[in-house]
Amino acid sequence: MKFKSFLLTVRRPISVNSSLLVITNRNTYGSKRWSSSPSQKPGATGVRFPGALESEFTNKLIFEHPSSYQVIPTFRAMNQDGDIVVDLSSFITSFSDDLALKMYHNMIEISIMDTIMFDAQRQGRISFYITCHGEEGISVGSASVLEKEDVIFSQYRESGVLKQRGFSIEEFMSQLFANRKDSGRGRNMPVHYGSRALNIHTISSPLATQIPHAAGAAYALKMQRLIDPNIPPRVVVCYFGEGAASEGDFHAALNIAATRSCPVLFICRNNGYAISTPTLEQYRGDGIASRGISYGIETIRVDGNDVVAVREVTARARNLALKDNCRPILIEAMSYRVSHHSTSDDSFAYRARVEVEDWKLRDNPITRLRKYLEKRGIWNDEQEENTRIRLKKEILTAFARAEEEKKPSLRYMFEDIYEELTPETRAQMLQLKELLDNYPEEYDISKFEGSKESLRIRGN
């Protein structure tokens, strides 16, 4: 195209040649782009369809049946009695007693917070809550091997990730009570946490939307390292449930992540239920893991109640994701949703109480790790009781403080729609102020920081 020549004077394409990550060389690419679609070589014995290059011809008419493929096995390192059943010397992660204790602490802290907050919602003190009972192992285990700079997108049942990365109880409580210290400025439902400092993106309710975000964010991290090789390699980690994996965004994300070679770990928490829907009504294939392979993504299924296995699998996946030109990895972590879906759900309407009780007794990431710690001789009933009492006290103290805090400024309902307030929003702020002025007895604004004065236009 001729008009290209009069275009801009400054062109600084990034230095792709210096990077290890590049597979296509654009100098050669430019002249014969369409050659990437393979054409028939002279003298070839049969046609090679571009859509499946390695496919051999066969004269047997056979439909591939899912049952002819082996069900993908579940990797486990520690059995339900807390015994290590693999050779740990082959692991790239270590599992020191200190670390095991720290992870155990984090798991029970989340579990205690869940119990307290679930009850708090029942008492009407917060509007909503979601517990992660039974799934603490997946979030704490995986987060324990990630770098702090790794970017995380989550669904909502991953409080353990936040805890493991250092989100404080005060931060949890501020968000749950939507008080003035909530960095979400009181806009989001409870449990929609987020932290820039911890590189955890703020949770949104629409399911699976974060999965393509993770692919795009991973591509961004890869590009930033191409531009500046001094940036340490990073991955994006994306959590979602097996129900969310039925959304179109799951398909969109895995496919684009594979075709664009994005360094992202997709971690699916398969806990058997999406609200009331059991997996039998969610899919007919071999779980979520079997789909990864069909997208050309290296995939593993792991016992989600086994923190040791989850840790090692995540660490290996992270290394793989950053290898060569980068790639996505899919981890399906199996567990059981012990809790109700949320505080708005009574799960005994669709599953037997005995099934839940059975799972609580039979297997649980917390009891399994406790058994391990006890067998190592570094944990006992007394420590358990003292720790639980202490954690409960800490959480209740933070709870009381957060509940008493002022609410965020009313002004925040209008800000952050755009980078700057639009004239329309400014006008609406003043309309609300006028309403509050004229009908003071109709609205309780005493708890809001700065009262209605915060709605005044600043800087004009």
């Binding site: 008009f3 690419y29 430019g30 961004a220 590009m223 965004d249 969109a252 980078e419």
Partner: protein, 400 residues
């Protein structure tokens, strides 16, 4: 998913079809032009006063910086102007990436021609055929600091990405609160509007669906100068933007465009022609129809009509519109997309609501827009507002 992309994998075919989309429209339109028509005469883009036919006209635009106004121009069409804006943005910022269906070879409308060769396959690349994936991917990349320019092949196919735009892109900054993260780096480009024979799924103008969404900016240029300046602005804007390109203008609208890079302001309307009796508000391709109708009406009725290009349809420039209606007391809003709950509804309601303009109104506010139907293949000419319909609206408004 576009049937075009689905069925025509060969790039040559694709280009051919894209070209045909534009060219056959004109040949057919001209050939079927009625000999006695006084109003519905096709736009002559070589003489329309809305385009800068000389370098002098292009450079006297007061919205351009002094430096740009001293520089040179080149005659280019709208797709070339889009291409220049993309070139500039990619050259001046390493964090800009461009992706979508078939963008690597230049795009089915040629807007990304030459970009892959210049900036490499890491920055200009094809995605799988999946609109929700394209926008979701763009949001993620923007959330991590990239400037992501996503192309949706036709505005008709933006709907699979509706959730990503409405629930994610638009709300990202709001929900992140004090954490301060946002997806301002995201720009979603899409060709829109009627093209002569695009029928149901190659003709739509879904802008009003997005003007109901706080958090998104929706921009529609009318000409190459506007396309270049507004696109550069949307790419640099810290809010997620939808940039809707009237595809009928890709090749038809040719004008002198400053060769340097420049920005044009968002959320600012532009008064294209001053007048004192009626205000006509439009955006995109119908502005040419309005301009033709105005010149006829001014001749027949001796009226003086003001023409305003909204440019950004949300958040839109109320001040400019109110100012004009305060002066003229009469208002007509023209758009191609259907009338019900369209841009015209919001503008008319706002004018009615404003005490200054309400008291000044001397006639009902009139909307000339697509009927509340889907765009039918055979009947497009009876659906898209034409000169006769705008002329008739002027006549009725003046004689009310």
């Amino acid at each position: 998913m576009s049937p075009l992309t689905f069925f025509n994998r060969s790039r040559k075919k694709l280009i051919g079809i894209a070209h045909k989309f534009v060219f056959s429209y004109y040949s057919r339109y001209y050939s079927s032009d009625l000999p006695n028509a006084q109003l519905n005469i096709p736009t002559d883009f070589s003489t329309t006063p809305l385009l800068a036919h000389t370098s002098h006209v292009a450079l006297r635009n007061p919205e351009l910086s002094a430096e740009v106004r001293k520089s040179s121009t080149k005659r280019i069409n709208l797709f070339q102007a889009v291409n220049e804006a993309l070139f500039h943005s990619m050259a001046s910022d390493d964090s800009v990436i461009l992706f979508g269906e078939d963008v690597a070879f230049g795009g089915v409308f040629r807007c990304s021609t030459g970009l892959l060769e210049e900036f490499g396959s890491e920055r200009v690349f094809n995605t799988p055929l999946c609109e929700q994936g394209i926008v979701g991917f763009g949001i993620g990349a923007a959330a991590e600091g990239m400037k992501a320019i996503a192309e949706i092949q036709f505005a008709d196919y933006i709907f699979p990405a509706f959730d990503q735009l409405v629930n994610e892109a638009a709300k990202f900054r709001y929900r992140d609160g004090a954490e301060g993260r946002n997806v301002g780096g995201l720009t979603v480009r899409m060709p829109c509007g009627a093209i002569g024979h695009g029928a149901l799924y190659h003709s739509q103008s879904p802008e009003s669906l997005f003007t109901h969404i706080p958090g998104l900016r929706v921009v529609i240029p009318r000409s190459p100068i506007q396309a270049k300046g507004l696109l550069i602005s949307t790419i640099e804007c810290k809010d997620p933007c939808l940039f809707m390109e009237p595809k009928i203008l890709y090749r038809a609208a040719v004008e002198h465009v400053p060769t340097m890079a420049y920005k044009l302001p968002l959320s600012k309307a532009e008064v294209l022609k001053e007048g004192s009796d009626i205000t006509i508000i439009s955006y995109g391709n119908p502005l040419y129809t309005c301009s033709a109708a105005i010149s006829k009406a001014e001749k027949y009725f001796g009226a003086s009509i003001e023409l305003i290009d909204l440019r950004t349809v949300y958040p839109w420039d109320k001040e400019c519109i109110f100012q004009s209606v305060k002066k003229t007391g009469r208002c007509i809003i023209v758009h191609e997309s259907m009338i019900n709950a369209g841009i015209g509804a919001e503008i008319a309601a706002s004018i009615q609501e404003n005490p200054d303009t309400f008291l000044r109104l001397e006639a009902p506010i009139t909307r000339v827009a697509g009927w509340s139907i889907h765009m039918p293949l055979l009947y497009e000419r009876f659906n898209v507002p034409d000169v006769a319909r705008v002329f008739d609206a002027i006549k009725k408004t003046l004689s009310y």
